[in-house]
Amino acid sequence: MTDGWEEDLLPIGASEWTPGRARHLLDRAGFGGTPKEVARLAAMSPEAAVGWFIDFGAIDNSHLPPFDPSGIYDPSLTPFPATRPAATRLAAETGAAMGVAAKPSGPRRLQPVADRFFFWIRASMLETRRVANWWADRMVATNRPLQEKLALFWHGHFASSEEKVRDYRKMLGQVLLFQQYAAGNFGALLSAVTRDPAMLIFLDAGQNVKGRPNENFGRELMELFTMGVGHYSEQDIREAARAFTGWRDKDLSFHIDAAQHDGGEKTVLGHTGPLDGQDVLDIILAQPATAGFIAGKLYRFLVRDDLSSQFQDRLGDLLRSNNYEIAPFLRTVFLSRDFYSPASIGAHIKGPVELIVSTYRRLGLTATPGMPDFNSSSTDLGQALLNPPTVAGWSQGRAWITPGSLLQRGNFARAVLLPDVIAFTDPNLDPYPPQLRTFSAHIRAGEDITKASNLVDGSEAKQTEGAGMATANLLSEHEEFNTHYASLKGWEEAVRRVKPTPRGAAQFSLTNLVLEGGARSSTEAVDCLIACFLSTPLDSAARDAAVAFLEGELGTADLDRAKTYLEEPLRLTAHVIMSTPEYQLA
């Protein structure tokens, strides 16, 4: 019946709508869900089910709170010095930096300034973890799952990292932008992102000046954000960079520094004139390559990795004929026979954040638990939100999976199902960098700052040893302030002022899940767990192994006889099932 559905964009018929296909839609347009949610979608028509995801603007989401800032920022932090040496140099020259004065006399005159620098770097890092946690909470609790799924997509597409931006407010602003434009118009999103302060900083727009254009922005715009390689020349990049000269962030807003803008004639992709940045964006949007690139990337993220170039061209035409409106494009995709063809089902390797959020949604949670820590889990699995590894974001699909990360995925499931409440510590209290723990202990034990620094660097011990010493450790120590001490003081103030993250374990009952699913035997219980957690079933040998394990833990095949102690054996069995290769697929 599904023969020939591959690459067929015609909609499936109402009679072809099944619970399995409803679940597939829930997995891909959202983050998966409970059997109840699958049943609700299965009871609709395919058009209504797809519409529920896509027309999310009408759905009430008022239960989701806005981000709750800790209040670490004040205006004296803007402009923030580019580097620590720049901060202390500024203070040495002018007597103050970041609202903090150098001491008039005495040793380490610039210490308060160095402390201040590290305070903001660390506080912004910790607050960014809170932003990521808040965002994860929305993914878990939202009534508009497609909105968050697409925001996650755009975050990977228009990747910026807090490590470089160094301001949680700008990272938060960017997430809000992705949520706002999630399924909107790509051209409008592109215009907004190229004026977004975090992006402008991330791509060094501030350094793109008349006469000495910085190509970074122009290159990433064409290669990563719009057309992909092969559709423009190096000359196009240089000319485009000129068009964006003078584009700047002004704290949380955008402005054009007219004095730094090159108003001269440029030629980009065959168009000549005194082009400005928006002109270049319009020229790029008119290229068929842009529509194909964006449509293909969305398709790979939401449907499947393997995509013929002819089909990508058709998807590009579809997106362009919808004037880059994402919603109608996705409506066609999600209703298409192709989307429900065997090539698309169970062929998608979940990314780390998707894996985590889908685990919580399948368990029916309404918030992200504090234990395990969301950021630690996602970072361990290879996707630290708001800190993508490069401007290209994350490679999707198979790139997520290594032997190490596969084991970690099983460990994550275990940390949710059976958290280690004794070993768990709040990772936001783990000092950064880790050597601070030793340094702090020396300081608190009454050691002087220089001695404590040398002990931490290991320079005393190693200098006597003579050989094998790393050159880095020989670099001279600064005299006007101590970097270790600044790092410690900055960390202490950051931890004191950033609001704590609640650390509760996930609340759920697999006993209820299995009993409400009508299971009466160990076999039926395992089938229930498999149906709840896996998008594609286990083969019979694997299923039998899971049944044998549960039965061994229960001491019986009869759930009724084990009903007073079901939870722990079910959780162990769920851990075994969630450790399988199948659990990585949706």
């Binding site: 190490g404 880095a472 192994a545 697929l585």
Partner: protein, 410 residues
């Protein structure tokens, strides 16, 4: 020919013992005796040789790495960023390295560092991702699904024995992707571990066993699950047991983990490590940052080779260092440098005949502000694949005929 030493076939106790012997240090040839015996038929112990590839991601500024300090054109192009002669460690009367690169200076003066100048390729891409893909596949513009090291492993050992390639990275590199071999990829050895209770172990093992795959993604996951199951304990224990007095520097981007596995007698012949996260992409205020990156890199590589000598594997190990391209000759307005073309590669180790290879590009005959490459990058690969690793037929690996550089005694 290495069948006897496949890690999958040695017991975990043997690995642990090899690692523990490593604690004593300096015992030449421990844990590797079988390798030498097994490879007695191969020419000159080639079968026990190890190739370690170090990737410097982000496009290393070669001109400020191996500085042509007698070249006026260099200082003209870089009035602010040019490193003054008095700040350099001079290698000879033409080139110097930055002050933090004592490790590279020592290797060079000991005759263990080959500097290959002007490495690049025709029609250069200025995109990190494209150029890195060219380097990693060894096949520009081909979209080849496999890496050059993956193809090398498939050629040298078509049976696809366990753990022939180890990639010390959080994400598997395209360079090691192979048709036959499943590279062992891990980053943090202490996290390369399945958490489970005693009761769960056998059920977890049974559910990790490969089954009939319904699609290619599932087949891929089954392969990786099997690889994880085979290597998990060995990697963790080898790394945990390894002790060395050598200081690997402030940024230990993976070679100390390579040393642990080599010391533990892993059968691996190809290791891949990366200085990750596009770190070398120094568009803005690059002087301090780049000097630090070079210091860390030089410290780490010199330490590793020193450690190999210490455990008696010095003659068996060669390190190859590359970056996806160099940077423009002229500095930019922001005290940084933009994407360029050719740059130096390095080959280091006891077996290396140190010195200069290839030709330094002419800084007065630039192509639109960029150096013209003098050494096709696959000549460096041919050197490693054919001369060092003993690959008899490197043409399919490198997708063409490339002449090796005379870096090793043939």
């Amino acid at each position: 020919m290495l069948k006897g030493l496949r890690l999958g076939e040695i017991g975990r106790r043997d690995v642990l013992r090899a690692g523990l012997i490593g604690l004593g240090g300096g015992i030449a040839g421990f844990g590797v005796g079988p390798v030498h015996e097994a490879s007695a038929s191969a020419p000159a112990g080639v079968g026990s040789r190890i190739l370690v590839v170090v990737e410097l991601s982000g496009a290393n500024d070669g001109l400020n790495t191996i500085v042509p300090y007698t070249n006026d054109a260099y200082y003209r192009a870089r009035p602010k960023l040019g490193v003054r002669p008095e700040k350099l460690r001079r290698l000879d009367d033409e080139f110097g390295v930055q002050s933090g690169m004592a490790g590279f200076e020592r290797l060079f003066k000991d005759g263990q560092l080959a500097i290959v100048h002007g490495v690049g390729y025709d029609n250069p891409s200025f995109s990190h991702f494209t150029s890195m893909a060219y380097w990693q596949t060894g096949a520009p513009n081909s979209g080849d699904p496999y890496g050059w090291l993956g193809r090398l492993a498939d050629t040298l050992d078509p049976s696809g024995g366990d753990n022939y390639i180890v990639d010390v990275e959080a994400r598997q590199s395209l360079a090691v992707r192979a048709r036959v071999h499943v590279p062992l990829t891990f980053f943090q050895p202490d996290r390369f571990k399945r958490d489970a209770t005693y009761e769960e172990e056998s059920a977890l093992d049974r559910l990790a066993a490969p089954r009939t795959a319904r699609n290619s993604a599932e087949a891929f996951l089954y392969d990786v699950a099997a690889s994880a199951q085979r290597a998990e304990v060995h990697v963790r224990e080898a790394c945990a047991a390894y002790r060395t007095p050598i200081d690997y520097g402030l940024v230990r981007f993976g070679l100390e983990r390579v040393a642990a596995l080599i010391a533990a007698g892993f059968p691996t012949r190809i290791y891949y490590v990366s200085y990750p996260h596009n770190a070398f992409d120094t568009h803005v205020n690059q002087a301090d940052t780049h000097a630090r990156l070079l210091t860390y890199t030089s410290d780490h590589i010199a330490a590793f080779l020193g450690d190999m000598a210490r455990i008696g594997r010095g003659p068996d190990v060669a390190v190859m260092v590359f970056s996806e391209f160099g940077r423009r000759v002229a500095e930019n307005a922001n005290l940084g440098t933009d994407h360029g073309t050719a740059g130096p590669s390095f080959i280091a180790g006891q077996a290396v005949r140190g010195g200069h290879y290839g030709a330094m590009p002419d800084l007065t005959a630039l192509d639109d502000g960029n150096m013209r490459f003098t050494t096709e990058f696959r000549r460096v690969y041919a050197t490693m694949a054919a001369t060092w690793m003993g690959c008899q037929d490197p043409a399919p690996v490198l997708k063409g005929e490339f002449e090796p550089l005379p870096v090793f005694q043939a």
